[in-house]
C-alpha cells in the first residue's frame, strides 16, 4: 500500500457486466450501452422499492448470462443501494443462491462494491465475485426528498437519481483481453458543509484522493 492506494498483485479481470435502466436513462447518450431498458419504471410491482429490487435481479441475471456463469460460480455478491437497510439489494438478490454482503456507499456503492469484489478475488478467497448496485429515482425521492406528486419546484442545480442497476463479475477466470483491476483508491470523507438535499453532487465532490501515476 502506497499513499493509501491499494495495489492488487494478481490484477483480477472483469469477466462480464450488465446494466439495466429506466425510460429516462434510455433517452440519454448511453442508451445503446444498456442491456435492458424498461418503459414501465414500476416494473409491474406495487411499490418503487420492489421495482428497484427487480432492476437488481435483472442486472445480476443478465451479467451471469453474459459471462456464461452459473449461480454456483459466483462465490460472493457485494450489493448495495440507497434504501434503508439496503432493502433493494436484499430483496433483489434473495432468489440467487449466492452469499451476500450488503454494502452502503450512497453514490459510491458501485465503486465500493467493485473494490471489495476485486480484493476478494485478488486475495484468492474467491474465484468470482459480483459487484452490484441499483438506484431508483422514485424510491430515492420518497426516501430522501418529497413524494412524487408533491407540487414543488426543483432548483436548477438539482440532480436526478438514476433508475437502473449494474452488475460486474470480477473473476480470475476471465479471458486475457478483459479489462483488469490494478489499483484501488478509496476516498476519505470530506464534509464541507453542503446541506442541500437536492445538491448531493456538491456534497460528494470534495472526496480526498491522491492518485500517484
Amino acid at each position: 500500500m502506497n499513499n493509501r492506494i491499494i495495489t492488487l498483485k494478481n490484477k483480477p479481470r472483469i469477466l462480464s457486466f450488465a446494466a439495466v435502466a429506466g425510460k429516462k436513462e434510455a433517452e440519454g447518450p448511453l442508451f445503446n450501452l444498456f442491456d435492458e431498458v424498461y418503459e414501465d419504471t414500476k416494473m409491474g410491482q406495487e411499490s418503487w422499492e420492489k421495482a428497484e429490487s427487480i432492476l437488481q435481479k435483472n442486472a445480476v441475471t443478465k451479467a451471469l448470462q453474459k459471462g456464461s456463469l452459473k449461480q454456483s460460480d459466483a462465490d460472493i455478491i457485494f450489493a448495495g443501494d440507497l434504501l434503508n437497510q439496503c432493502t433493494g439489494s436484499s430483496f433483489g438478490i434473495k432468489d440467487f443462491d449466492i452469499p451476500y454482503a450488503g454494502v452502503y456507499g450512497a453514490c459510491s456503492t458501485m465503486a465500493l462494491s467493485l473494490c471489495m469484489a476485486a480484493m476478494s478475488v485478488d486475495s484468492g478467497y474467491c474465484n468470482t465475485a459480483l459487484a452490484v448496485t441499483s438506484s431508483h429515482f422514485c424510491s430515492a425521492e420518497k426516501q430522501f426528498r418529497k413524494p412524487l406528486e408533491y407540487g414543488g419546484q426543483r432548483p436548477p442545480a438539482a440532480q436526478w437519481t438514476v433508475t437502473g442497476s449494474g452488475c460486474v463479475a470480477v473473476s480470475k477466470n476471465a479471458n486475457k483481453n478483459a479489462p483488469r483491476i490494478e489499483k484501488l483508491a478509496i476516498g476519505k470523507i470530506r464534509d464541507l458543509g453542503i446541506t442541500d438535499a437536492n445538491n448531493m453532487g456538491a456534497a460528494m465532490a470534495p472526496v480526498d484522493v491522491k492518485i500517484e501515476p
Binding site: E46, S47, K142, K146, P147, L148, E149, Y150, G151, G152, Q153, R154, P155, P156, A157, R190, L192, G193, I194, N199, A202, P206, D208
Partner: protein, 148 residues
C-alpha cells in the same frame, strides 16, 4: 484539498445555475392570482344560491381543496406547480396537495402505518405551528378584548 467550508460554499454556489427569480415571480403572481380570481368566481356563483355568506366562505376553500386533491391524484398538479411555484404552494392548493401526495406515496405501506403515519409528513409543521400561533393570538385577543 485545502478549501474551507466558506470557500467551498461559494464555489458550489458559483457552479450552480441560479433560479430565474423574475420569471418565477411573474409566474407565481399569475398562477396565484388566477387561483384567487377563481375563488372570487366561486364566491360569486355560490352567492347565486340560497346559501348564506358564512357557508359560502367555507364552501369556496373546500371546493378548491377538492379540485386540488383530484388533480393531484391524476398526476397533473405537480406539472402545473413546477411552473407556478409559490403561486400554487401559498394558496390552500399547496396544503391540499401536500396531504394528498403524501397519502398517495405511502399508500402501499398500509392504511395505518403507511397513510396514517405519513399523510401529514409535509403538512405537519404547518398544522403544528398554525395551531400554536392561533392559540397564542387567541390568548392575546382574549386579554385585549377585556382591557379595551
Amino acid at each position: 484539498m485545502s478549501v474551507s467550508k466558506n470557500e467551498y460554499d461559494k464555489m458550489a454556489k458559483a457552479a450552480s445555475p441560479d433560479s430565474p427569480v423574475v420569471l418565477n415571480c411573474i409566474k407565481a403572481f399569475l398562477f396565484g392570482g388566477g387561483i384567487c380570481c377563481f375563488g372570487e368566481l366561486l364566491f360569486f356563483l355560490y352567492g347565486l344560491t340560497s346559501l348564506n355568506n358564512d357557508k359560502i366562505k367555507i364552501l369556496v376553500p373546500i371546493t378548491i381543496i377538492i379540485i386540488t386533491a383530484i388533480i393531484t391524484a391524476f398526476g397533473v398538479f405537480d406539472n402545473i406547480a413546477r411552473h407556478a411555484g409559490a403561486g400554487t404552494v401559498v394558496p390552500i392548493t399547496g396544503f391540499a396537495n401536500s396531504v394528498v401526495c403524501s397519502a398517495m406515496e405511502f399508500k402501499n405501506q398500509g392504511k395505518i402505518m403507511g397513510v396514517g403515519a405519513n399523510i401529514f409528513s409535509i403538512a405537519g409543521p404547518v398544522i403544528l405551528f398554525g395551531t400554536a400561533a392561533a392559540t397564542v393570538y387567541g390568548v392575546i385577543y382574549w386579554f385585549v378584548e377585556r382591557v379595551f
